[in-house]
């Protein structure tokens, strides 16, 4: 029931946002900033770049929304913008990934209560493996399992067919399993 109310809230805010209400924008910023940041960060590995890109993405969202009126869902829209921004960024900058040691040194990781030590080591390793996948696979896995988006939404975001998305996810998972078992 709570989700019904909040999805209605979001719908109302979205309509207000389309008519130029900046309070509605603040509402969406608060709701989505962490997710977009996370999505971008996983892909680009640098906090600085992630911050800059996230800001860019929100600005683009605002500008596009005021121009185009026929967007249905804020969530798919913002992720689409994020998705495209990340791709553009790669095209311009070539892959420049930080070595994964960087994550190990980060204190935040160690202070994470939610995960056991085992899990943490696993997570880092897992991230490493995911990064070995090609970017198409990475993206669908991120969108599906980290951002918990639906197949429909992912299809809209990546501009691919729904079936295509399902196949991609399946293949990504298989490939990932392969990589993991190969390294063990």
């Amino acid at each position: 029931m709570n989700s019904l109310k909040s999805s209605l809230q979001e719908k109302i805010a979205f309509l207000k946002l389309k008519s130029g209400d900046s309070d509605a924008f603040a509402f969406f910023y608060d709701k989505y900033v962490a997710r977009i940041y996370r999505f971008v960060l996983i892909k680009v590995s640098s906090k600085q770049i992630a911050e800059d890109l996230t800001q860019e993405i929100f600005l683009k969202v605002w500008q596009h929304l005021v121009d185009k009126k026929d967007i249905k869902s804020f969530q798919s829209f913002i992720f689409r913008v994020a998705y495209n921004s990340v791709i553009d960024h790669y095209r311009q900058n070539d892959r420049q990934e930080l070595p994964l040691d960087y994550i190990n040194e980060n204190e935040d990781l160690v202070s994470d209560d939610a995960l056991t030590l085992d899990d943490k080591i696993d997570s880092t390793a897992l991230l490493e493996k995911i990064r070995e996948l090609k970017s198409e696979y990475q993206e669908v896995l991120l969108l599906r399992y980290i951002e918990s988006l639906s197949i429909d939404e992912i299809a809209e975001i990546t501009q691919k067919e729904k079936n295509n998305v399902r196949v991609l996810i399946h293949r990504a998972l298989s490939k990932l399993k392969e990589i993991i078992s190969n390294n063990k």
Binding site: S22, F25, E51, W62, V66, K69, L127, Y145
Partner: protein, 448 residues
């Protein structure tokens, strides 16, 4: 699968949380960037289907579960019962009245859209008037003591003021949400309601001011609130009219400059003419297929009707106040004349005001609606101010049997709250020296 679970666990890694300071800083940067972009100005209003969407979502969001909604649901069930019929007949002070009020609240929460909401408020206003009449009905006099009556009236008046103000707010919201014709029709309904309020209250004031001061005062204050709302409603109508004119003018300019860019003189004169007179403007855009002439004409006619009502209203108010001045005149006004009670003096100059009203009428016919509005309300407010002062004088006469200059001062002092007109506040607030000299002057001819 374990793998999937592990992947989704990644999102919990603290590493991926954004820095709080950055988050806040960026938010404000973005908001100020947005504010400075012109896009904000150009953002169009929601189109029709989106408005429906917005309404529907707002409606549904009202139904999300909560304790108060459960209670409302219970009341809906009650509404079908005999209890509700009894509650409908109740007045403030009776046991069932709070139930009636709650049922009204439920009715409000079920309404879709501000137009409907305003209509519901109007309905409630009608109920308040019924209640007031019922409480003050001479036949009921025996059963209820004065204390209880006063309390009940105070409650009824308080809720009347609330409902009237609520009607005003939802009217303003409706202006933003609905099409011009619907809004103006709604204004008509609101002004009809406020007129009824005004006449009921005036009648009751007349009947009761001799008997009970508190009741009289409560009624007068409700009248004042009502007048404010009435003016505001008419103002909404005028604003809608102006907006429709402007939109039509824009369309007219756009379409004529796109077809023949050479005709700049024509468009310029069109531009000027829309500001000068609706009638001639309508004529000039009649043939333009882009402009919604029907809408423009309908809105104009409706607003004209509303304004015509206001004019006749004002002229009857003028005669009422005139009558009151004469009533007071016989007894007391000699004392007051030298004190230069501006407001009452002003209203004596009635032929001039009648002329002003006639002017307003012709402004109205020409289509200068905003100007007519301003003229009418100048006159109206003059008489409303005088009315207020006259009521106080009448009160003072009843209390003291005569009107001493000091009493006038006292009344003025009480009257000098910011809401009441600046004129009466500045009317006479004499220093003691003046009072002394005036006292001396009037020590001789005093009417008992």
């Amino acid at each position: 699968m374990r793998l999937i679970r592990k992947i989704s666990q990644l999102k919990n890694m603290a590493y991926f949380q954004p820095d709080k300071n950055w988050e806040i800083k960026t938010k404000y940067e973005l908001l100020s960037e947005i504010a400075s972009q012109n896009r904000l100005m150009q953002a169009q209003k929601l189109d029709y289907s989106q408005k429906i969407d917005l309404l529907f979502s707002t409606f549904l969001s009202k139904f999300s579960p909560s304790l108060s909604k459960a209670l409302a649901g219970f009341l809906i069930i009650v509404m079908g019962s005999g209890l509700s019929l009894a509650a409908q007949a109740s007045t403030p002070g009776e046991m069932l009245w709070p139930i009636k009020r709650s049922m009204e609240k439920v009715e409000l929460s079920l309404t879709l859209g501000s137009v409907r909401e305003t209509e519901v408020h109007i309905k409630h206003i009608g109920k308040r008037l019924e209640e007031i009449n019922k409480i003050l009905d001479k036949d009921n006099n025996q059963e209820t003591g004065t204390q209880a009556k006063e309390k009940a009236i105070k409650q009824a008046v308080r809720h009347l003021e609330k409902d009237v103000t609520a009607a005003d707010s939802s009217l303003k919201i409706a202006k933003e949400e609905s099409n011009p014709v619907a809004v103006v029709e709604l204004v008509k309904k609101v002004t009809e309601a406020t007129k009824e309020v005004s006449s009921v209250l005036s009648a009751q004031v007349k009947d009761n001011i001799n008997e009970d001061k508190t009741i009289g005062e409560a009624l007068v204050s409700a009248k004042e609130v009502n007048e404010v709302v009435q003016k505001s409603a008419v103002n909404v109508a005028i604003e809608v009219h102006e907006e429709v004119l402007e939109a039509a003018n824009k369309k007219n300019i756009e379409s004529s400059t796109s077809t023949d860019g050479l005709d700049t003189n024509d468009t310029l004169s069109n531009n000027l003419s829309y500001q000068s007179s609706t009638a001639s403007f309508i004529n000039s855009v009649k043939d333009n297929p882009e402009v919604d002439v029907v809408e423009l004409e309908t809105v104009t006619n409706l607003v004209k009707e509303i304004m015509a009502d206001e004019i006749s209203d004002t002229s009857s108010e003028i005669s009422d106040v005139q009558q009151k001045v004469e009533d007071v005149d016989q007894n007391e006004l000699q004392n007051l004349e030298t004190l230069d009670i501006e407001d009452i003096d002003n209203v004596k100059d009635s032929p001039a005001d009648d002329q002003i009203l006639a002017d307003a009428k012709s402004l109205l016919e020409e289509g200068f609606l905003r100007d007519a509005f301003n003229t009418i309300y100048q006159v109206k407010e003059k008489y409303q101010r005088a009315d207020v002062v006259l009521e106080k004088i009448r009160q003072a006469i009843l209390d003291h049997g005569t009107v001493e200059p000091e009493v006038i001062d006292e009344l003025n002092y009480q009257d000098s709250a910011p809401e009441s007109s600046p004129v009466s506040a500045s009317m006479i607030v004499p220093d003691s020296k003046e009072t002394e000299s005036i006292k001396e002057e009037f020590n001789s001819p005093k009417v008992d």
